[in-house]
Point group: C2
Chain length 154, copies 2
């Protein structure tokens, strides 16, 4: 039916606020959204697709500055397709590094959680006989603390 969306509809469909949509336009992330006779924005499917793409860049951590560059290249037409691809590839590389780093760190944190679990198990049942030997390590560590009242690495 209606071949365009009002700013509020566009906001609802992207999850951005109308203010943010106007802001993105002001700073050149989206160039010149077509207007109705009274001057209101009319977001056409092209605009929505571009916004969706921008949101993907944003959600993978691209700073606004770079999105502006990308948008500027896009505005310059097909001739810049190569530059845009390269930019995207560099970004993607960074995203993948980021993912790997997150995975590594998450693994370490998971380990910490495990450590907490053991600590809790041994403090909830402090009089376990045979098993306590294996868990003394964390208590030994605790005994090494330098300043009273401060637990080591937990």
């Amino acid at each position: 039916m209606k071949p365009y969306l009002s700013i509020q509809e566009a906001a609802a469909s992207t999850g951005l606020s109308p203010d943010t949509l106007r802001y993105y336009e002001r700073i050149g992330l989206i160039g010149a959204v077509p207007r109705g006779p009274g001057g209101q924005r009319r977001y056409v499917p092209d605009d929505m697709a571009w916004l969706a793409f921008l949101l993907r860049l944003r959600s993978t951590g691209m700073p606004v500055r770079q999105m502006q560059e990308f948008a500027e290249l896009r505005r310059q037409g097909e001739a810049t397709a190569g530059a845009r691809r390269e930019m995207l590839e560099r970004h993607l590389e960074g995203v993948r590094r980021n993912i790997r780093q997150l995975e590594e760190t998450a693994a370490v944190l998971a380990c910490k959680v495990e450590h907490y679990r053991q600590l809790e198990a041994s403090s909830i049942q402090p009089k376990a006989k045979g098993a306590s030997h294996g868990k003394v390590r964390s208590d030994a560590k605790r005994a090494l603390r330098q300043r009273p009242g401060k637990a080591a690495g937990d």
Copy 2:
């Protein structure tokens, strides 16, 4: 030899700036670093371990506010170990969601890169005979553009 680090050494070893170390102390992320006779901070291994942990929280996107809560719990001693573990688990869950989302989005972006590649291939060699048929799609899409000078989704 020296059982502690000066603020600059601590900065070098964590990658933070001395200012940021002091800032973290002010806002309670690290509590009361021991001082030398003249009042200078002396970062002991415990502090360094805690800082390393904080940096892991930070690099996985935990806001300072939450790190403060965590630090506060830690200050309250072993009794809060359970709460800390839960907090960590919730955080970890978020991190994992985040990773999955990044992977998905990265895949879409990779797809876009591929699309660019094809676009470039067909525009660098526009007179390819047999192969051109398969690539007309992107040109057809291009022909649909509404506002002159604006490429569809590229």
